[in-house]
């Protein structure tokens, strides 16, 4: 199957999406975002000082001109300087995005894999005690505030009031010799991962269970069972494969958020210099240079995710493809 014409068609089709995202986001930050002027002004400014800052910030330019300028920045990948931090935006992001990725990835992968395993178990024993137990724990995970989980886990695992096994702060992945150290990584990432898991497992398990239960009721499973296939085989081969579309949808659309949004709360409680804090600070202060880059990158990622999701749908459900051909 030649996939390239499809990919190119989709990519061209994504241009309006990029324009839409950037335009809406830019509108929001220009007209409803914070005005950085008053953050950057000295005490006792004159009207001239105010105008001057607005010129430096580019606020005096017409909107359409600023928006076109933004598009140019996106195309050339040159986002300029953060007005708050006096640092090139690209530098800030290239430092922070890998950190956020390393921070979120274990929790994300484990959170989905474990959730699918648990959901399979729950489905298999539907209505019986393993199902009830798993689902009760899922509900507990869903019911507790993330904030409380972070604080509690920090006390339990990291503080001297608890087990004191892991660090509270001081994200540092290099060993004494200055190389990347897996041990250091695990040392720093464990508690954040556990906290993320605690919260996301509940949601994920619940969702995957619903999907699998639906699959299980399908006629083909009943047929498969009737024709003597083993339960395990049914579970893994037929059910999982057919449940892939909702699962992929869910997983794929979390990816851009993980890369770009990071996790503000985890980062600020564990002192991890990730992209969540940078984005949040930029939103709160109105640092448009940073926001423009973050939003631009998020929307590009979304386009890629949409594209990949479409391709995967075809792999898992060839009927969509055959219909289109018809």
């Amino acid at each position: 199957m030649n996939i390239w014409p499809f990919v190119i068609k989709k990519l061209i089709g994504a241009i309006p999406l990029l324009l839409g995202v950037t335009l809406l986001a830019f509108l929001l930050m220009v007209y409803f975002g914070p005005d950085l002027t008053y953050e950057l002004l000295g005490k006792n400014p004159s009207q001239q000082d105010i105008d001057n800052i607005r010129t430096i910030l580019g606020y005096d330019q017409p909107f359409i001109w600023r928006y076109l300028n933004y598009l140019r920045e996106l195309l050339t990948f040159d986002f300029g300087m953060s007005m708050m931090k006096d640092q090139p935006v690209i530098d800030m992001l290239t430092q922070a995005i890998p950190v956020s990725l390393l921070l979120m990835l274990p929790g994300f992968i484990l959170g989905n894999v474990l959730a699918i395993i648990l959901a399979l178990k729950a489905t298999q024993y539907r209505g019986l005690w393993p199902d009830k137990t798993i689902m009760t724990f899922a509900v507990i995970g869903m019911s507790v505030s993330f904030l409380v989980v972070i604080i509690a886990f920090q006390i339990i695992f990291s503080s001297s009031y608890g087990l004191d096994w892991f660090p509270v702060r001081g994200w540092n992945l290099t060993s004494q010799e200055g190389h990347f150290s897996l041990w250091q990584y695990l040392y720093h990432v464990s508690v954040p991962t556990l906290a993320t898991l605690f919260v996301s497992l509940g949601y994920n398990t619940r969702f995957y269970r619903a999907v699998l239960v639906e699959e299980m009721n399908k006629d083909y499973i009943t047929t498969a069972r009737a024709s003597g296939h083993s339960t395990t085989r049914i579970t893994y081969q037929f059910m999982l494969k057919n449940a892939m579309i909702p699962i992929i949808t869910r997983v794929m659309f979390s990816i851009p958020l993980i890369i770009i949004s990071g996790s503000l709360l985890i980062e600020s409680y564990f002192g991890i210099p990730g992209v969540g804090q940078i984005t949040y600070d930029a939103i709160i202060a109105g640092d448009q240079a940073v926001l423009k880059a973050v939003i631009g990158l998020t929307s590009v990622l979304f386009v890629l995710v949409l594209l990949i999701a479409e391709i995967i749908y075809r792999v898992f459900d060839p009927r969509i493809d055959s219909r289109q051909a018809a």
Binding site: P34, D35, L36, Y38, E39, L40, L41, G42, K43, N44, P45, D49, I50, N52, I56, M81, M84, K85, D86, Q87, P88, Q95, A96, L114, I117, K121, I151, Q154, I155, S159, S160, Y161, D164, W165, F166, P167, V168, R169, G170, W171, S175, Q176, W183, Q184, L186, Y187, S190, E267, S268, Y269, F270, G271, I272, P273, Q277, D281, I283, I284, A285, G286
Partner: protein, 598 residues
């Protein structure tokens, strides 16, 4: 089932393995000879460019990376200035208009590519001139120009003429490589204080021009430390090995055996700072995270006690006594902040301020005074400041020498009956009271402040549906509303730039109205006249009398509900020798920090 078990086992194994590893690595750290001190602050700085050092957080780093002409003595209280890069205190002409300052020779900037051969060159008087000029260059977006604008001869003209760094400013000259001359338009007794602020720190022109705006994140100076890296959580600094050797003279710095010997500071006598090899400043907003990092033992060495830890730390309030398990493990000191918190009215607001109508003015005055009488400082103090804050009347806080301990405390006493009488005397009823909008930068804490204020207002019969919470998503938007006079009532804090009450009185000076610092838009010709009269005076009883007269005017006009100075408790590990101060001494104390090897 089996896979799950294997997974769990694997996880446990991994965790315990890295547990072992970590203990080893901390041990190796302990044995290494590097002295690393980890400081903590409760918020983070933005740019580290001196001309933008408008927050305590950026100032803290700026005075450690750069040199200022003057600094504050390490231990002396009340705060006293001392020469830093300057050789001596300035010599001032008879009329108080010409300052001549000599700087130390052989002081070098730290290395940077932009210098010839990449080696830091000597700091010259011209560098100081250049550094002050930068604040007046409209392309730089500096925030410190207000300190000198209209005060140094020719500096405003220089800006108007296009800010050409090669042009001369008659009032700001380098007479030779080591002599600075400043000429003033009128006497400015606070000038020397401004030369101890981060805003006047000395920057090398080559590097600034090489890096452009990026200088704010890659600063290069001649201070005791140099920046190695900087992100949203931590600033890593290393000792500047070439920092001029100036042995610590304890007597000169204000050492008092009774106050300071318990911290071991005398051990440092005669040694030249900085004593530590690496300085880390951790920016930790979340109090629980900061506390756990501090009590862990191998992370941050210093913290101020967060509000939520008061019950764990304080045993008794008057006099302050801490729990033995805290004092056994940590050193502590506590002190009044150089600043205060207050509620203010916008006097231009038609409902609460001054309008054209004299009768209405009196009614509004009564309303403001009634609200002030309803405000219960002691309850606020107890709920939000450990009960340790010092409530004082007026706008001259206890941390400045001009503070008047004998001033009547009527304006900070709650008096519900008097407030109700005042309202009814001036014809205010539940029906005609105006809508009371409480503008604030939204947060949970601010909402609690608001709810308590609403409770106070309720006590004098202000109807609940006329009290409105108006949060802004962030400080920038709140500040904009205040500067555009949209907030009739606001809650704010002020941190002093220098220990002189002029710094708070100017908040009420008419010409400083918004967008200036007079957020109250208070215009009182008598106040303004006294202010103009007092601001050119050197510290004297005469000046103090004028200050107190102005203070009384602000109180009588019920412009503010003021104020409370917070008391902060500082804790640090016992293997650290320091005497922390986050107020006016700012970051100057960090160079004197030492770690006792175990």
């Amino acid at each position: 089932m089996r896979t799950k078990l294997t997974l769990t086992l694997l996880l446990v194994l991994l965790l315990s393995a890295c547990q072992q590893e970590s203990t080893e690595s901390t041990q190796t750290l302990r044995h290494s000879e590097k002295k690393v001190y980890r400081h903590s602050e409760d918020d983070r700085p933005n740019s580290l460019d001196p001309i933008k050092a408008s927050t305590v957080y950026s100032n803290l780093l700026v005075v450690n990376i750069f040199d200022t002409l003057y600094a504050y003595k390490y231990l002396e209280r009340p705060y006293a200035l001392k020469p830093n890069l300057a050789v001596d205190m300035p010599s001032i002409s008879e009329n108080g208009l010409v300052y001549t300052i000599k700087i130390k020779p052989e002081v070098r900037f730290t290395d940077h590519l932009a210098f010839t051969n990449g080696q830091g060159r000597e700091v010259k008087a011209q560098d100081f001139v250049y550094s002050i000029m930068r604040s007046f260059d409209p392309n730089n977006g500096g925030t410190g120009a207000w300190l000198w604008q209209g005060k140094i001869v020719g500096i405003d003209d220089w800006r108007e003429a296009g800010a050409d760094y090669d042009a001369l400013i008659p009032g700001l000259l380098a007479l030779d490589d080591y002599t600075i001359q400043i000429k003033l338009t009128e006497p400015y007794p606070q000038l020397t204080y401004t030369l101890a602020m981060g805003f006047s720190a000395i920057t090398p022109r080559e590097v600034v021009e090489h890096l452009g705006q990026e200088f704010g994140s890659k600063p290069v100076g001649s201070g005791p430390f140099k920046l190695t890296s900087f992100n949203s959580d931590t600033a890593y600094l290393a000792k500047n090995p070439n920092f001029r050797a100036e042995p610590l003279d304890l007597a000169y710095e204000g050492y008092d055996p009774e106050l300071h010997s318990k911290y071991g500071i005398q051990k440092l006598s005669g040694k030249a700072p900085p004593f530590i090899d690496e300085l880390e400043v951790h920016f930790i907003k979340e109090t629980s995270s900061r506390w756990h990092s501090f009590t862990k033992g191998n992370e941050i060495h210093y913290t101020t006690v967060p509000k939520d830890k008061q019950s764990a730390v304080i045993l008794q309030q008057e006099p302050l006594q801490l729990h033995p398990q805290i004092t056994d493990q940590y050193h502590y000191t506590y002190g009044l902040e150089a600043g205060f918190v207050y509620h203010g009215f916008n006097m231009q607001d038609p409902d609460f301020g001054i309008s054209g109508d004299e009768v209405q003015n009196q009614k509004n005055h009564a309303l403001r005074c009634a609200i002030r009488k309803a405000h219960n400082w002691s309850q606020k103090n107890r709920a939000f400041y450990f009960g340790l804050g010092q409530v004082f009347p007026g706008i001259i806080p206890p941390s400045v020498p001009e503070f008047d301990p004998a001033m009547s405390i009527d304006s900070v006493e709650v008096d519900i009956e008097a407030a109700r009488t005042l309202l009814s005397d001036y014809g205010w009823t539940a029906d005609n009271l105006p809508l009371f909008e409480y503008h604030v930068s939204g947060s949970v804490l601010q909402k609690q402040f608001f709810e308590q204020m609403r409770g106070f207002m309720h006590a004098i019969g202000y109807p609940a549906n006329k009290i409105k919470y108006q949060p802004y998503p962030n400080f920038g938007q709140f500040n904009k509303a205040v500067k555009n006079r949209q907030a009739p009532f606001f809650f704010m804090g002020w941190t002093l730039d220098y220990p002189d009450a002029e710094n708070t009185l100017q908040l009420f000076y008419g010409p400083n109205e918004t967008p200036g610092q007079n957020n109250f838009n208070y215009h009182n010709p008598k106040f303004d006249a006294l202010f103009e009269q007092s601001r050119i005076l050197q510290p004297s009883t005469e000046r103090t009398a004028l200050y107190r007269e102005m203070n009384q005017m602000v109180v009588d006009d019920c412009v503010v509900i003021s104020g409370l100075s917070r008391n902060k408790i500082h804790l640090w590990h016992k293997n650290v020798i320091t005497f922390p101060d986050r107020e006016i001494v700012g970051g100057f104390h960090l160079r004197y920090v030492d770690i006792i090897p175990e």
